[in-house]
């Protein structure tokens, strides 16, 4: 390794640690500024709460054993909605790839479903599924399925004619063409669909909880707002931030693992 190259690598490393440092600093600054503004009387803690109040609120909830059941409920609903939405979305995309006719027929319906704010279906869901966890999961499923279908199908369809012509020249069946050429080539778009849909599932679950729930983080936020306990609202939002980010990174990690492994097993 030449001296220049070492210098170049050092430069990259320095820039990277600078970014990390700035990120942490920004977080400290925001939280510190918030706390300071309240302590100095620049902001009313009744309206904006404060970091210390958020922490003591969380500690209170936790000590009374109220935090975990809410978190667990929301997390379980999101995971269920995400899993079901992704599975249904991928299955639908595969079906539509196999039948271009069906794809053409259903295209405008998909577009409308995608454009429709799914929250508008809330009352219908409550009537059909009942005002409970079922309606929340179905809401999350609805929100994540449509976007999954569209992203995954777009990934399938953008695979060039060339690979398919090659498969045809070897006399491949349509199923072989899909499994050996189209599906592996679409792994990146399937993975990005997963990443989008995990965020969508959170949206669906929180919206669902606003509407029907007696449990969960969404319920805590709505309840806190109604009784004007901003501490509770802010605390719940903070928990939500951590949970959503954790799930996003988990999916991103999974994405890396699968992409590597898929290349190995695609042939069998």
């Amino acid at each position: 390794m030449s001296e220049e190259h070492r210098k170049y690598l050092r430069g990259i490393k320095r820039r990277r640690s600078l970014v990390t440092l700035a990120r942490v600093l920004l977080l400290v600054l925001m939280i510190g500024g918030w706390e300071l503004a309240v302590r100095l009387g620049l902001a009313d803690p009744f309206i904006v709460s404060s970091p210390s109040r958020v922490v003591s609120c969380l500690a209170g909830l936790a000590s009374r054993g109220e935090l975990l059941p809410h978190v667990a409920a929301t997390f379980a609903e999101t995971a269920a909605g995400f899993a079901a939405g992704t599975a249904a979305g991928c299955a639908a995309a595969v079906l539509l790839w196999f039948s271009p006719f069906l794809e053409r027929v259903l295209e405008p319906y998909l577009v409308v479903l995608n454009a429709l704010p799914k929250i508008a279906l809330g009352p219908i869901l409550i009537v059909w599924v009942g005002a409970g966890a079922g309606a929340i999961i179905v809401m999350a499923l609805l929100v994540s399925t449509v976007v999954t279908v569209m992203t995954v199908l777009a990934g399938f369809l953008e695979q060039g004619k060339e690979k398919q012509e090659l498969m045809a020249s070897f006399g491949a069946t349509r199923a072989q063409t899909f499994l050996k050429a189209v599906l592996p080539a679409s792994v990146p778009s399937i993975m990005s669909a997963l990443r989008i849909s995990v965020g969508m599932s959170w949206v669906g679950v929180i919206v669902g909880e606003y509407l029907v729930s007696k449990r969960g983080i969404g319920y805590l936020i709505v309840y806190g707002g109604q009784v004007f306990r901003l501490d509770l609202v802010m605390a719940s939002v903070s928990v939500l931030c951590v949970l959503a980010a954790a799930m996003y990174y988990a999916v991103a990690f999974f994405e890396k693992r699968v992409s590597a492994r898929f290349a190995e097993t695609a042939a069998k």
């Binding site: 020249s169 070897f170 006399g171 290349a263």
Partner: protein, 257 residues
Amino acid sequence: MENDNIAELRGVKLVYHEPSRETLAVEGLSLEIKRGEFISVVGPSGCGKTSVLKLLTGLMSPTAGSVSVMGEAPSAVRKRIGYMLQRDALFEWRNIRRNAELGLEIRGELDEASRRKVGEMLEKYGLGDFAGHYPDELSGGMRQKAALIRTLAPEPELLLLDEPFSALDHQTRLILEDEVYELIRSGGRTAVLVTHDISEAVAMSDRVAVFTGRPARVRRIVEPGLYGLPGERRADPRFSAVFESIWKELRQDERGA
């Protein structure tokens, strides 16, 4: 088939339909491809040369006339036809060895023996050390060789090549010509090469079918009468005379168009 033709096109007409228009790509095309020969098809660009290959693979059917390969409809003998596309279309997620095995795998012919054969072919044509590498780690010429081995591995009797060198730089092309020629001829296979490069056609073929502009048919068939590897033929003093005569044929068409 009783005669020694491996494939025949008789009075073929081919019309492409698009919503806005229809195009008469091929009309009155008759061509016999003899077993064991290397025949090239040259013609003005956009004249429907590639259509001939698609007709021979059965990926397209003629509007009128008949296409037969080994005495049958092309789609019935697809397993005995190898088709090499203009671009290599290697799968990025498969290493070179597994790319080369693709055709065998699709046909369910991948076993110990065929695997070993692919390994030997890769070895022989300088890809042995790259068998475990992925396509994006290889040069254009190596990728094209891997694609050719993928086509040849199922041992097709009739090999169809659609401008296999067009994406390569000139130097790579000259080197690859010799290697590809050996690779194809080693099995005594029949090859049909479609190209826009007259010198390539002259250097590689036993016969050169010169096509007219659209609608395409055979204007003339030239037999270069040169022997040896493409590189040796290019050095032959008669090479330029053959090139010239084909060029003259083609130019007539360009003027007519």
